[in-house]
């Protein structure tokens, strides 16, 4: 009876497994196959070119730029979102009138599609009629074309992405904070711990599972950033603000190098997998240490 019951339960996995195989495993394996070809993305013919795409990838200055940008988008967004998210959570964990409204306002941008957010922000930063320049002009200053400078454009992309998704980190930290029993703080206060001591020795260690989840989510979100870049800069000027995701699209469709794009996709998959595993491993250890 038990065996039959277990078999029944296993059957429920089947639809999910089928969907996963059809929409994830199969395209992924096809992607690996394509990465060894010179396919242009539409022709009926393709040639196997061995490791040529992978060799080219490691010599391509544009891939190097995109890789560096991807790491900047991933790491900087994670740092900003977590610091700001934790600060918001600590603040909004205090009881005050209008707390729910403030929480909603901070979380609201998460509900906007990143592409839409990108276009809204483009109108904010654009040279001609952009809100920033209108303010600069009102203050008697010269307007600036912020998105033409790759450094400034990258910073803008990081800031916009961080502010849009800081609500996710805030919610995770709020849940974490509300799970910390008040008795720990009371005991610490009886021992004469200051606010900083309580934060360092009670809050942070007990928040480690929340920090871990938030960091991984934000890191992966930053590393696969796509829509926002397309809406704000389309990867330009030149290749200077491309991430690996936008570069894959550019190479697949615009440059008609589907094989090469697949190779970049596979390498970025490996990169994100390695980074997220290392970070997960690090936080797993921390969580164990604090238990």
């Amino acid at each position: 009876m038990k065996k039959q019951h277990r078999a029944m339960i296993n059957l429920f996995y089947v639809p999910a497994i089928i969907l996963f195989v059809v929409f994830v495993v199969y395209p992924f394996l096809q992607g690996i196959r394509l990465s060894f070809t010179n396919w242009n993305g539409y022709s009926q013919t393709m040639k196997y070119v061995g490791l040529k795409n992978y060799i080219r990838l490691f010599q391509d200055a544009n891939v190097k730029t995109a890789l560096i940008n991807t790491l900047i988008y991933g790491i900087m967004s994670t740092v900003i979102q977590n610091i700001l998210g934790l600060a918001y959570a600590l603040f909004l964990n205090i009881n005050f009138k209008g707390r729910t409204v403030v929480r909603t306002i901070i979380y609201m941008p998460v509900m906007i599609a990143p592409l839409i957010m990108g276009y809204i922000m483009y109108f904010f930063f654009q040279y001609d009629g952009g809100a920033i320049n209108d303010i600069l002009i009102a203050l008697g200053m010269e307007p600036a074309d912020l998105l033409v400078n790759s450094g400034a454009a990258i910073a803008i992309i990081v800031i916009v992405n961080s502010i849009q998704f800081v609500g996710v980190a805030m919610v995770i930290y709020l849940a974490g904070l509300q799970n910390i029993p008040a008795m720990y703080y009371e005991a610490a206060m009886l021992d004469g711990a200051t606010f900083w001591d309580r934060f360092k020795h009670v809050t942070l260690p007990l928040l480690m599972p929340a920090i871990s989840s938030s960091t991984i989510l934000n890191l992966i979100g930053g590393l696969k950033l796509f829509d926002l870049i397309m809406a704000l800069t389309s990867g330009g000027p030149g290749f200077s603000t491309h991430s690996l995701s936008t570069l894959v699209t550019n190479q697949y469709f615009s440059a008609q190098s589907a094989g090469y794009a697949s190779a970049i996709g596979i390498v970025s998959f490996l990169l994100i997998m390695v980074i997220s595993n290392v970070v997960t491993g690090y936080f797993d250890k921390k969580e164990v240490d604090t238990q």
Binding site: Q126, M230, T233, G236, G238, S254
Partner: protein, 445 residues
Amino acid sequence: MMKKLAAIAFAGVMAVSMIGCSQAPAEPNTDSTENGTDSSSVAGGGEQKEAASSTGVTLEFLYNLNGEAVSDAIQEVCRQFTEETGIGVEAVMPGSNFSDIMKTRMASNQLPDVWTTHGWAVARYAEYLEPLNDFSFASHIAPSIEGQITDENGVLYTLPIDMDLTGIIYNANVLEEAGVNADDIQTWTDFEDACDKVKAIGKTPIQMGGKDSYTLGNMMDYVAPTLITNENEANQNALLDGSFDWDNWNIVVDKINQWNQNNYFNVDAVTADFMTGISALASEQAAFMFTSASGITETYVQNPDTEMGFIPMPAREDGLQRSLMTGEHFAVGMSNTTKYPEEAKMFLEFLAREDICAFLATKCGMPSGLDNVTSDTGRLAPFYDKYANDAAILNIPYFDRKYLPSGMWNDLCITGGTILSGQADAKTTVVNQMRTSYEEKKAQE
């Protein structure tokens, strides 16, 4: 452990989405223009005929012309074809990612019966298109577009209902205010003198909308042939046979870089979009723009009271000819694997019929691609009349379609942005990018 699994699953989904995700590629703009002519009846429509009984066949026709009036005209023509023949036509304009959809349809070998070839009849679609040399309209292809829609063996791939005749568009009122006579612009030096005069009256000489990267590609595509291939057979052959010395590309980079140094472009040339440029022309704040004549129509939509025109591309030096680019605009080909070849042939013959072709070309406001058909090109008529049959003007193909391997349009768009962004090592970066991409793509051919 669960977190590790979750992280791996996230990464997997991300990689797959990156391989499969899509973005409309930037290609030369072949959007339709809309002429304000009456659309109440297709030519010949005054005569009421009894509708033919249905054959049960429906052709799938995908087109990329997204103007409302043009789209309505296409639907009207398809209805008339169905009435006359009993053959249904499902005419669909799938949106701005037409090119991506067609690439996907090619990859899966599931092409529509008939589709618009938007400039790529030979370079991209030839292996999927039925040769049209035996059609009655084949002997009426306008000479200026024939070379662009036939391959080296003379195989004709598409029916050119109309054709692009592209130069540099300008605002006549701005030029007049600056004291520039557009007809005096014969060489790039004349063009630069005109830019200086426009700059002197505080207006933008060249408007660019680089956020829509095809505008940067247009600029490179317009300037390059005048400096590299026009009246230079050696370079033409070298580009085609793969032996081109890319150090020669420096002349193009230097020219555009010099304009940039001279502040001929709008300050936000790299980050503004195309419509910002159109607004600048419509409000008479800018003089020139590197875009097709459809840009003029767009400008008139915003300000019907302004005066627009276009000039041929200036020559690189005195004694050489100016040039106009000719290419497909509304051109239709049929699949060589269609289940309904006879019906598709009837549809193409119908589209080529003088009354139908004239009606559609007029709706687009473009000269017809068939020499037995005359269309009404509205406010652009004086310019088409002036330039179309001027032997002193070279009719040239779009540079990238003729001389660069497929896929290098992307490089023109990106390197255009690199130059205008003022990047310190722009010259080396651009030339290296073009050389590397050209060699890689040539090696794949």
